[in-house]
């Protein structure tokens, strides 16, 4: 479910090394995209971004622009040594690779063939689905000690309350070791009892904070 093949775009707009910059820019505009894989004989040999295309050509208004747009070929400006992903890669690995390499997209390659492309916006969509924003629910952030069984204990509190969990993510707390934060999305309009039970069991709810009239806090 959280593999590249589940989230990549399958219809990929590609160019060839001989494509002109003018044609490539027109494709970006037409499809509302920023990255074009470059093929040669059906094989992926590079990627070119709209930013590469723009920086390769004189600015708007420059008299030499029109000529340059027609003269310069994608093959002259593309990035070779392209980082790629495979369809079976977990999305988190791809996210890490894109973040670390400071790149906006990864062509997805199966064997020798280009089968898709995964961009940061595909990953954003995966994140949104992962946290369950498309299903009605309430969101809680809960602090829990970093030890075996603590997640099971908070899950037990949901079970006892008879409330379904739409999604659960667990991450390290801001103070690092020793504490984790669980981000829960619960299928209920009424998390009041769960918030109380969690607090009493030693799992304080961090967000939303509790506030009483006149307290002036938060």
């Amino acid at each position: 479910m959280l593999l590249v093949r589940d989230w990549m775009a399958r219809e990929v707009v590609t160019v060839e090394t001989g494509t002109t910059v003018a044609e490539a820019l027109a494709l970006c505009r037409k499809h509302g995209i920023r990255h074009l894989p470059v093929l040669e004989g059906g094989r992926l040999i590079g990627v070119i971004s709209d930013r590469d295309l723009r920086s390769a050509t004189p600015a708007l208004g420059d008299p030499s622009r029109a000529e340059a747009l027609e003269r310069i070929r994608v093959g002259d400006e593309m990035t070779r040594d392209v980082a790629t992903a495979r369809p079976e890669d977990p999305v988190e690995d791809v996210a890490a690779a894109m973040y670390e390499g400071n790149i906006g997209c990864l062509p997805v390659v199966d064997g020798d063939g280009l089968v898709g492309i995964v961009t940061s916006s595909n990953l954003m969509r995966a994140l949104a689905q992962l946290v369950g924003v498309h299903e009605p629910g309430s969101r809680l952030e809960v602090a829990l000690p970093d030890r075996p069984g603590s997640l099971a204990e908070i899950a037990g509190i949901m079970r006892d309350a008879g409330v379904n969990v739409v999604s659960v993510l667990v991450t390290l707390g801001p103070d690092g070791a020793g504490q984790r934060i669980a981000v829960l999305r619960l299928a209920t309009i009424n998390p009041v009892r769960i918030v109380k039970d969690l607090g009493e069991a030693g799992y304080p709810v961090l967000w939303p904070p509790e506030m009483h009239p006149g307290e002036g806090g938060a």
Partner: protein, 386 residues
């Protein structure tokens, strides 16, 4: 501003509730009615008793397969796992005997109110049992089984082809069910003002949810920061609601008047007071007279501090709708009767004392964020409304 106002209600509608410790408690209806009566604001002659909605009414917005399951659930039939897929029998929406009939009666109430107003038989009508805005086409959600406003609007559109209805929802939770039912319909403008879905159920209601296809621009959402107080709530309301209603030019306004944005409400995190529950109905009333010949239908909605908030808020709603002044003091007889049952001290006045709700520390930041949200909304959505 004069003209006849009616209170659409029947004791049978007080059957819609989930019992026990469940926060949705129909006793709030009884308490509101008795408060209105005790203050001398409500007379026997102002009541109208509605019929339950028919299956044909319900099917204007709900799937037959869903209506069939609600009926089965109410008879104690059906497979629990199957029902749970329709949101029935969950912690939020427990099944109770005759659940279909009880909720169909609520729908019938809002529909009757809307019809009386649209047909010109009365000027304004209120049905405080209504406002079940989370109910979806094929599932129960957030204490709501059938969507009374959805059915009423769909039916009015059938009976009066070409009319435009504005739905204005100030419940603290996003009015998702009604919004999705009319998401591509340019004849129904939904406006929902609520606590942002960042933490709060149902999680939707961002400003980018602005309708689709022909309905693009006809869903308006004002997601407010948690802990928003009266001034910022009212400022946001005034900046958006009058303008979008004027731009849209509805034939009727249907308002959902959930009162769970109050600071005392246990289910949400806004910090409003009774001030907004006088301001909003008064302004919706004025706008109805300005824009659509006074045609205004008001429903209830959420509200889970049933002791200190709901009866006062909906009494204020009735006072506005029936052109009466709400007295300042709570009546002795009402206080002594309900005071005995209440686990909390009942407020002695119909209005809140501002000193009890001082500005919170982050008030300036919250106001600024709401202001930016409103600006963003007005720039992006207002030009789409015709």
């Amino acid at each position: 501003m004069s003209g006849r106002a009616v209170f659409v209600h029947d004791a049978a509608m007080e059957e819609y509730g989930f019992g026990g410790e469940h926060p949705f408690n129909p006793m709030r209806l009884r308490m509101t009615i008795e408060l209105c009566e005790s203050l001398g604001l409500l007379k026997e002659s102002q009541f109208v008793a509605p019929e339950p909605a028919t299956d044909e009414d319900l099917r204007t917005v709900h799937y037959s397969s869903y209506v069939r399951r609600v009926r089965m659930a109410g008879r104690g039939e059906g497979d629990l796992e199957d029902l749970a897929r329709y949101g029935l029998g969950t912690q939020d929406n427990p099944i109770f005997p005759d659940i279909h009939r009880a909720c169909a009666h609520v729908v019938g109430g809002t529909f009757r109110a809307a019809r009386l107003v649209m047909n010109g038989e009365v000027e304004h009508a209120m049905c405080i049992s209504g406002g079940l805005h989370h109910a979806m086409r094929a599932s129960a959600s957030g204490f709501c089984i059938y969507n009374d406003a959805g059915v009423a609007i769909a039916r009015l559109k059938e009976e009066h082809p070409g009319i435009k209805v504005a739905y204005v929802d100030t419940d603290v939770h996003h009015g998702d069910g009604v919004q999705w039912m009319f998401y591509d319909d340019p004849e129904v403008l939904t406006v929902s003002m609520h606590e942002s879905g960042r933490y709060l159920f149902p999680g939707t209601g961002g400003i980018k949810e602005d309708g689709q296809r022909e309905g693009h621009g006809y869903s308006v959402n004002l997601p407010l920061e948690p802990f928003t107080q009266d001034d910022s709530f009212i400022e946001s309301f005034e900046a958006v609601v009058p303008e979008v209603l004027r731009a849209f030019g509805p034939d009727l306004i249907l308002s959902q008047n959930g009162c769970d944005a109050h600071a005392l409400d246990p289910l949400a995190h806004l910090s409003a007071t009774m001030r907004i529950y006088e301001h909003v109905p008064r302004r919706v009333h004025e706008l109805a007279h300005e824009i659509c010949g006074g045609r205004w239908v008001a429903t209830g909605g959420g509200g889970y501090d049933i002791w200190r908030v709901v009866p006062r808020a909906w009494t204020a709603l009735w006072a506005a709708l029936s052109h009466q002044e709400m007295p300042d003091e709570m009546p002795e007889d009402w206080l002594s009767k309900w005071g005995e049952e209440s686990p909390v001290k009942l407020p002695p006045f119909t209005r809140d004392d501002a000193d009890d709700y001082p500005p919170i520390k982050r008030a300036a930041e919250i106001e600024e964020r709401n202001r930016r949200m409103v600006e963003d909304l007005l720039t992006k959505v207002l030009p789409l409304i015709r």
